[in-house]
Amino acid sequence: MTKILGILLALVLVTVATAWNTESFLTPYNVKNLLNWIGLFGVISLGAAFVIIGGGIDLSIGSVVGLSACLLPWLLVKQGLSPWVGIPLVLAACAAIGLLHGVLITFVKLQPFVVTLCGLLCYRGLARWFTDDKEMGFGQGFTGLRDLVKSSVNLPIGGTVYYIPTTFLLMVALALAAAFLLNLTVAGRHLKAVGRNEQAARYSGVITPRVVIFSYVICSTAAGLGGMLFALDLNSVQPAGFGNFYELYAIAAAVIGGCSLRGGEGSVLGVVAGVAIIRLLFNSINLMGFPSQLEFAVIGLVILAGVLADTALLKLAAWNRRRQERLRAARDGHP
């Protein structure tokens, strides 16, 4: 709980500092943009959190984002499919990718790092091959679908009208669903148990392979959904590079948000806050006039600082517990 408070506090601090120092931060245009990015990256980070909480890792997220972002325009524009067929098809393909990862990890017993690293390479190559490495987009077509993704809800605050983008609202809805799944269902509890100690979970009758596969399917499907949203939002996708590094943003957001890469730990609220912090930092580096070449360095340092603070807190808690133990022992009259 203290962890989440810490993350939210950091989020507020960065927001206030940026708003204080720049005039353009609180303009409706910037807020809309920022929330849009938080929404898009939030979708894929939520998926990543499932895998990480289950004790795994998925390096292929960026390539799956790229693949689905190319696949949707390719199916709709080049193959002339209706969106009613195309979108479910892309989601199903991405779910199949997750299923493949899960099966290779649980039944063939390959390491998640290796399996998803191969995925990272394969899906990128696949996307470049069927698009012939040409930029993909919807051109002037499918405006209804694109407008839906780019639409927003108006929110007047003190005379200014702010726009809350649909992508952000969608992410919030998905976050609520994820929180429900993780905290209130048996499947969520089993996922946490497997992430903590797979052997003990197995000895308690948890069907561990099913749980692990489930987490990878969720992760890849979320990446696929995110990829389609990106494609509809940007309307221009480079097969060679689009989505590169997104897995690392997603993992970083999960880690900032309190997920441990050892598994079993993490909260949805934390992950959303983690995504928000990362996007906010990009935004404020931009607005405050830092050299943009430094942005990766800044974000890297911030993540490191967060993890260090977390470790320090854990040590403090352990120290405090030992002290209590000693005090209690002294009180009970043990040597």
């Binding site: 269902t185 048996v186 969520g188 946490k192 903590r196 052997q199 979970a201 000895y203 069907i207 040597p335």
Partner: protein, 554 residues
């Protein structure tokens, strides 16, 4: 030729170490090699050592005996610098020393031969022996020739006829152990600490280890030896030091070492008070096993049955295949073939879910890795096995059920915890074990299997667990347990099935007054080929065990 020539393979004179180690070999009252004075160590919830004393002379084999949880392992870890004592002092050759790291202990010449061996399987013997103190050539490169020559000499001292280039991963456990000993000799260890060194060795390998130990003794190396096997202690030890509940329980000199005295030293209390035997009203067979072959011992079919309300123990040496029986029944390591019947109905068990559905439960051997999830709360641990069964229609967590069960188990098993949200890892071992048990009691299993139910927990918690077993049996639960503690196996079981190398070699019943240590050991060691460390035990002609009437009647 830049590299220094490898040293010739001249055998080390056997008395070299002894000459170095005793500055005044003939002085009548020389200072002991090691003196441990009033050492204490506390862990959360447990006093592991309470003002323990120990003295070891050069060239002496001291056996430290005691039950699980008596503090033997903690004492050894303190000597090896793995743990530091809370109070007390340690004198090494008469001087006060701080053994605050394994390095500090090794530098003084104290080496611990771990129960779990600490070798790199991917390196060869020579590289393992030299690890951390590699010889270098002129350019700073590894001087493999010198390291191999060194390895060859020390391997000879421990009687290992292998090339130093052999990969350690290709060695047997016994050979690895000898490599560990060789490693200790290489740094001129003066004191070797061996923690249950024969627990996974065959009779012949054990004999070889004895030979090496005696040889080292003549070279002036002192050995502190922990063992559960009293026959072995009788064979080897110059002196016995008994520990009980973290305190010194007394010493035995060489001529005093016999079985009876050792047992008294270890147990030292009214055993009958610990075990509350009641007569069980036996019901129908709850578990019947026919022709079960485990993956560890294929081709050795097992036949046995456990009745409702009966407590049956699987006895035998480590590696005799007892745990594997439980794992097969629970579907962790499904049986190769054979039939399992629960309450007269044939069940197929391919994974733990099948077993749970059939009414089986297993409290596994490794509490921290298998029994509980240390980081999770008491409540979540107790609920874990029953969530699926009690989930609501939408797959929601049965939160009320979980909470109720956690409360009930905390009260019924007297789990000492501030509340049910406490992570299990912060509880003492005994309370962790109760959580592991409570998880299954929420499901009211027909057959409860327990693997080493009281390993490493304090006497108080042990007694409570024995009581609970009695209580469950009285309510008609069939209980099948594995125990390596002879006293426990004899004290709790209505019937003991004794295993040897994957076979059930006999069945002993409390009612027939057959539960004696001698009979168990005779069966556990396979009747034929009684190991050399029991030379004076007669080999009685035991009739083949009567077929279990239970198995026949069903």
């Amino acid at each position: 030729m830049i590299a220094p020539a490898p040293e010739g393979p001249k055998p080390a004179p056997p008395l070299q170490t002894a000459a170095k180690s005793s500055p005044t070999p003939d002085a009548p009252a020389r200072t002991p090699l090691l003196v441990v004075e009033a050492v204490s160590k506390r862990f959360p919830g447990v006093v592991a050592l309470d003002a323990v004393n120990l003295t070891v002379d050069a060239g002496e084999v001291v056996a430290v005996i005691g039950e699980n949880g008596a503090g033997k392992s903690t004492l050894m870890k303190i000597l090896a610098g793995v743990q530091t004592p809370d109070s007390g002092r340690i004198l090494w050759q008469g001087q006060d020393v701080q053994l605050d790291s394994p390095r500090a202990a090794l530098d003084r010449g104290i080496a611990l031969i771990h129960q779990e061996l600490n070798l790199c399987d991917n390196l060869d013997i020579a590289a393992n022996l030299a690890l951390g103190r590699e010889r270098r050539g002129l350019l700073g490169t590894l001087n493999n020739a010198a390291m191999r020559a060194e390895a060859e000499r020390v391997l000879k001292r421990v009687g290992l006829n292998l090339s130093p280039r052999t990969l350690v991963g290709d060695l047997s456990i016994a050979q690895k152990q000898l490599v560990e000993i060789a490693k200790a000799l290489l740094i001129d260890a003066r004191l070797l600490i061996m923690d249950e060194p024969t627990s996974s060795l065959s009779a012949r390998e054990t004999e070889n280890l004895y030979r090496v130990i005696r040889e080292l003794k003549t070279q002036g190396v002192a050995i502190v030896y922990i063992s559960h096997r009293l026959g072995e202690v009788r064979e080897l030890a110059d002196r016995v030091v008994g520990l009980r509940d973290g305190r010194n329980a007394g010493n035995l000199a060489r001529h005093e070492i016999d079985h009876e005295r050792m047992v008294k030293l270890m147990v030292g209390r009214d055993v009958s008070r610990l075990y509350h035997r009641t007569r069980h009203k036996l019901g129908q067979p709850a578990l019947v096993v026919r022709g079960l072959e485990t993956t560890a011992h294929p081709g050795r079919p097992l036949e046995f049955a456990v009745r409702a309300g009966e407590i049956v123990g699987l006895a035998g040496l480590v590696g005799s295949g007892r745990t594997e029986v439980l794992l097969a029944l629970f579907g962790i390591e499904p049986a190769v073939r054979g039939a399992i019947e629960i309450d007269g109905r044939r069940v197929l068990i391919g994974d733990p879910q099948d077993a749970i559905k059939a009414g089986l439960a297993l409290v596994p051997e490794d509490r921290k890795q298998q029994g509980v999830i240390l980081e999770m709360a008491v409540r979540a641990n107790i609920g874990l096995a029953g969530l699926k069964r009690h989930q609501t229609s939408g797959g929601l967590l049965p939160r009320a059920w979980e909470k109720r069960q956690a409360r009930a188990m905390i009260e019924r098993l007297r789990i000492k915890t501030p509340d049910d949200r406490q992570p299990v890892g912060l509880l003492s071992g005994g309370n962790q074990q109760k959580v592991a048990l409570g998880k299954w009691l929420t499901l009211n299993p027909k057959v409860l299997m327990l693997d080493e139910p009281t390993r490493g927990i304090d006497i108080g918690a042990k007694e409570e667990i024995y009581k609970l077993m009695e209580e469950l049996a009285a309510r008609g639960t069939a209980i099948l347990f594995v125990s390596s503690e002879m006293e426990e196996a004899l004290g709790v079981a209505d019937r003991l099935l004794v295993m040897h190398e994957g076979r059930i070699t006999g069945e002993l019943a409390y009612d027939r007054q057959e539960l004696t240590e001698e009979r168990v050991m005779d069966l556990a060691t396979g009747r034929i080929g009684v190991p050399p460390w029991m030379p004076d035990s007669p080999t009685p002609a035991i009739k083949p065990p009567p077929p279990s009437d239970v198995a026949r009647s069903s």
